[in-house]
């Protein structure tokens, strides 16, 4: 695999939140504002990169029977470092992320990539995989945060947009989080279906494919 492919893989093909459906808790919880989504995404990226490097470097040393506790300890170490850094330099982010910052430890994306990628690949590739997965996660979080902030608060990254419609508060409450995430996942599935259908359409009749894709749009 080429180095650039490893990074792109995490952003598009295996986007952790939308395609692998990992790390749903922070995706839903902190995305009431775009800024929080960005902060959470970058925090997770930091942990992903460094735990990927450490686990990959130790992959021949850690016995496979105790690998999960070992991975969790490594991840918890980097989360602790991150928490100390954020508390010291970004106190505002610390208070807006609250308990979700230590909860990065149990974010399934990080343990999942440790098990699926870092434990089998070289150090540099694992760092790149962490970067790609982290950026993919960050993009999804910022997207969710932007949609919810515009609809629910009438602003974007804290800037008031002066929209002609009043903000719909429901979008920054928990139900809005589930709803926006559901719609985004449906959109990802729709794009995927359309791509597959185009491939099939080349082999079979193109007319039927067009009709069914129109049905999806109206629905």
């Amino acid at each position: 695999m080429k180095k650039a492919d490893i990074v792109l893989n995490g952003i598009l093909k295996e986007n952790p939140a939308l395609r692998l459906v990992l790390g749903t808790c922070p995706t839903l919880a902190v995305t009431t504002l775009a800024m929080n989504g960005l902060g959470m995404g970058l925090s997770a990226t930091f942990v992903l990169i460094f735990s990927g490097i450490a686990i990959s470097a130790l992959r021949n040393v850690i016995p496979s029977k105790v690998r999960l506790p070992a991975y969790i300890t490594i991840i918890a170490t980097f989360v602790t470092i991150l928490m100390l850094l954020v508390r010291a330099y970004l106190p505002a982010l610390n208070s807006s992320l609250g308990v979700y910052l230590p909860l990065i430890v149990v974010n399934c994306i990080i343990l999942g990539r440790a098990e699926m990628f870092a434990s089998k690949n070289k150090v540099f590739d694992s760092a790149l995989d962490g970067l790609g997965m982290g950026l993919g996660f960050t993009l999804t979080l910022v997207l969710m945060g932007t949609i919810r902030e515009i609809l629910g608060n009438g602003s974007i990254f804290g800037l008031n947009l002066h929209l002609p419609i009043p903000p719909m508060i429901v979008f920054i409450t928990p139900p809005g989080g589930f709803f926006v995430f559901g719609i985004l996942m449906a959109a990802a599935a729709y794009l995927d279906l359309r791509k597959n259908r185009k491939k099939e359409a080349v082999n079979t009749e193109p007319a039927s494919a067009e009709i069914s894709s129109k049905e999806d749009v109206t629905a």
């Binding site: 230590p102 909860l103 995430f181």
Partner: protein, 198 residues
């Protein structure tokens, strides 16, 4: 203060601050094992048990950490305690209560990475609860998780029968129905405060 405050913590953890539907903790298992009623209730019970056990161990440990000025190690210590507890619980159940083990066994390994468990232990400390309040809070959080799981498994049974557009199949439609269930729970906001005056 005591009885009213304890009752207020307990019921607000179940209804107002429901971990799954309001605080978004434990969503992975909420979406993963809520397809059937019996597995949903099994997972809910297992999570409640681990939450109560984990709090009973982590709360005293936090006092030790504070005594030695090691608060920064809270996250590492707590997650390791939870991982060890889950392993022990699995061993004990397998040895002494085989029927319960066969019912809950498959869910136990999943609980280590359930953020609701680590979440409740950390939030108890953040809220400054004493030991009794922490225990009430974790049992309430567990029962709230159980309630959300069971309710949602019933909703999901009807959703499975529906035929949504292709791109909405499986998870998207599940998430949107979760949004509606969560919307119902926002109706409980302020309820507990008004009853117990806390």
């Amino acid at each position: 203060m005591t009885a009213a405050k304890l009752a207020s913590i307990f019921f607000s953890m179940i209804l107002v601050n429901n971990y799954v539907l309001v605080k978004f903790l434990g969503i992975c298992s909420f979406l993963g094992v809520s397809k059937k009623m019996d597995s949903a209730s099994g997972m809910g019970l297992a999570v409640t048990a681990v939450m109560a056990l984990a709090t009973a161990v982590t709360w005293p440990l936090q006092q030790l950490l504070e005594l030695w000025h090691l608060e920064s190690f809270q996250t590492i210590v707590f997650i390791l305690v939870i991982a060890i507890l889950v392993q022990l619980l699995e061993l004990v159940l397998r040895k002494y209560v085989p029927p319960l083990y066969s019912a809950l066994g498959i869910y136990l390994p999943l609980i280590t990475t359930n953020c609701a468990v680590l979440g409740v232990t950390i939030l108890n400390i953040d809220e400054g609860y004493n030991f009794l309040e922490s225990m009430i809070c974790s049992v309430g959080a567990g029962l709230g998780f159980l309630l959300a799981m069971v309710l949602f498994s019933i909703v999901r049974r009807s959703v499975e029968r529906a035929r949504p557009p292709k791109s909405f199949q499986d998870l998207p439609i599940t998430l949107i129905s979760a949004a509606i269930v969560a919307l119902c729970f926002t109706g409980f906001g302020g309820l507990v405060e008004n009853i117990f005056g806390a």
